[in-house]
Symmetry: C3
């Protein structure tokens, strides 16, 4: 990853856009695309507006496959008296820095768990933010970014899925016939994929999707062993489509590993339930410290992810 | 609330229409609308029939926003040998009166829990109705209404959501450009909102919804403190839409309180998952004794709910 | 059941088609239909292809009602180092024979549970297949069929829902105006019913569905007491539709029993959530040993199921 690419990823991770507040990432993306598309192989149609809420679609040439990358991150909503409610499944430790804004100004406080310990079991009874004043109800908070790049890894909050967004933007430079979808609400079970799929199917007869998202390092999917192609997670895609992708991945020469899990989900699950005949396959780099402020991905896995997307979007 | 309004609410609460049996409330509404619409500012199109199952839509002028109010209530299905199965989440005490009809006549019995007590824990192992004969399988039972009006409160079963329906009917008197949707199956996770949203979006390009439903009194939402505008519950709506509504609510001068919860849901969740780009916001009075026969709402909160809907439907 | 019918059912149960791999059952059905439709009362339109993934629709004359029968079965995916992950909810005992194929050849091994016993409780910590070599990741495994026909019963794996498919194929011989839908992913919560419902509604204005699937023998639904008509399970259909079906069932003279359950689901649940106004009713024979290799159904219940479908498709 060169300096410009690294900076782009860093900037993406800085945008405060938990589920429901994707509008800020949409604005970032519109700016980026407007500034950079002149250097792309093909200039896409940029589709957004009232019929798409805060989502954004890019259409290059005559697309048959769409890349889905979700804009939203996990986070917290401020409830009553600075209590915190989860947005999606954040996994933060005691003392984690949380930031945001409300009508009275900037917020920068520490997460605090009240623990009940009855001898047998410790149980979180309340999650709060320690801050000097009461925060407006409904204010959303996100992690304080802390970008760390080493010889081998990149670490930051929200690599899930700003790295998927980053990959989509890098692949965009090479696309001739394709669609890219920047979706919303993935971390909370969906809410945009249905109408996005409707549009892609009805307007362009697109039936093939790749889910550009970040997965977990597990017993079977190792850090640094290549981009993961998921055969299944909680969702079970159509096997004939997965087999076609695995065959192309073999032909591509790109380093990849096959994932088979029973838990976890993605925009693929929402596509599965949408009333359109979409095939989908999750393809993404694995990360350590999922949904923590220290999400961490191997740089070669990132490169493999990008390379595989470039190959698949040409050959699928 | 004057006597006529109070009588209307009382009559709405009497209709036996648990999820799946909304047809009886639909019939009540058709009668009411036919008798009263001549006094309304605008006579609406009344839309129903085979394409809408037991649902009903009113369209006034050129609508851009739809009010959703669900017709169904919680209740019970009779299983084998007078065992009871829940419809939605009823919360009734031992001895609660349940009423219904089957092929052999009227039913009026008492709810009975069989409790297993192993010392550590009490557990309901069976819920039954005590009645003189075996009831037809699949018969639906509901609470015996008991309307109590005091200086400050109204109490009855099924204020959730007959009070939402009542609000919609009262707002209807003033509407010029709007839609009202009377939906089904809300208490069991949905089943009508998808096709209702489809119709509203495809026929009228409606993308804005207000969910006229009843919420819970909690630590942050107090009885008598105004209508609740929900920033989130288990569903997380688009923040830009919520912010617009809060701003209008501030301008309206109506007393309201902001709700932020992690649990609970409404027709909003079904709208979120439907493949149409609907914004939604839950706005409703808070109640005590949720899903019990003694649901109880403060009269000023009811008035605030009605006033806020009147204001929003003019200005949103 | 005569020999030819028994052989057809046996052959259907042999097809390895767990959720996601329905393509193999689709191919079987296409062959069967092409060979047999000349003997049917009406030759149907056979609808399949890219817009229907691995699903298949038959349309006879001018249809108003569709039969849904799901092609997929429960099964297992091979994970890492021969660990097994469930596809749907298989219920197999230690030592159950599992079969499949991967790039290295045929697989025929035994299911093995690793049990953790801490005195209080036994808990399955791992499910594996005992086999001589490592199996390709993502390989799907199914039960080894073992068809047993006695005077009274038929026993085999995957009667759920190959018996529903069988019923649909037998009813097909008599249909004049109807649709039959062979659906996918039922055992894992759906994924095809949405677009199938869309097609049926938009192209043929079909709003009525019967779910031809297999249910459970319970306290209220007995083996040999007739086909079950489900008034509700986890899903609650529209009561007016169920009542119409029960009335027709009474007129038919076919032996049936009414089911009322709080758990379990079917393609009916997916129809309920699809954005089309479909009424649905589950009608199917009850079985013993649900999702085990020894699913077992009474032959008279099978005959009742077939007879009731023939009657309903003429009179509904």
């Amino acid at each position: 990853m060169n300096k410009i690419d690294s900076q782009l990823l860093q900037n993406l991770c800085k945008v405060k856009a938990p589920s429901g507040s994707e509008i800020y990432l949409k604005e970032f993306l519109l700016n980026y695309i407007n500034e950079n598309q002149t250097n792309w192989a093909v200039r896409p149609k940029i589709i957004y507006g009232d019929d798409f809420q805060d989502c954004l679609i890019l259409v290059f040439g005559k697309p048959t496959t769409a890349i889905f990358a979700h804009m939203d991150s996990v986070g917290y909503s401020v409830g009553y008296e600075n209590e915190l409610l989860k947005i999606g499944g954040p996994k933060a430790e005691e003392g984690t820095l949380l930031i945001g804004n409300d009508s009275k100004g900037e917020i920068n406080g520490k997460l605090h768990y009240s623990i009940e310990d009855d001898g047998d079991e410790k149980r979180i009874v309340k999650t709060e933010i320690t801050f000097s004043r009461e925060i407006d109800r409904g204010t959303t908070l996100t992690y304080q970014p802390n970008f760390i790049e080493t010889e081998t890894h990149i670490q930051n909050c929200y690599l899930d899925d700003r790295l998927g967004i980053w990959t989509a933007l890098k692949v965009a430079e090479t696309l001739e016939n394709a669609a890219i979808v920047f979706s919303a609400w993935e971390e909370v079970g969906g809410g945009s994929v249905g109408y996005l799929a409707k549009f892609l199917f009805e307007k362009y007869t697109i039936r093939q999707a790749l889910i550009a998202d970040i997965t977990w390092v597990t017993d079977g999917v190792k850090d640094g062993n290549g981009v993961a192609i998921s055969i299944r997670d909680s969702g079970i895609p159509r096997r004939a489509y997965i087999d076609k992708i695995i065959q192309l991945a073999n032909e591509s020469g790109v380093k990849f590993q096959l994932e088979v899990e029973s838990a976890g989900g993605s925009d693929g699950n929402a596509l599965q339930k949408a009333p359109y005949p979409f095939d989908w396959c999750f393809i993404g780099a694995p990360e350590l410290n999922v949904h923590m402020p220290t999400e961490k991905v191997h740089k070669t896995d990132i490169q493999n992810m990008l390379d595989l997307y470039v190959y698949l979007m040409k050959n699928l």
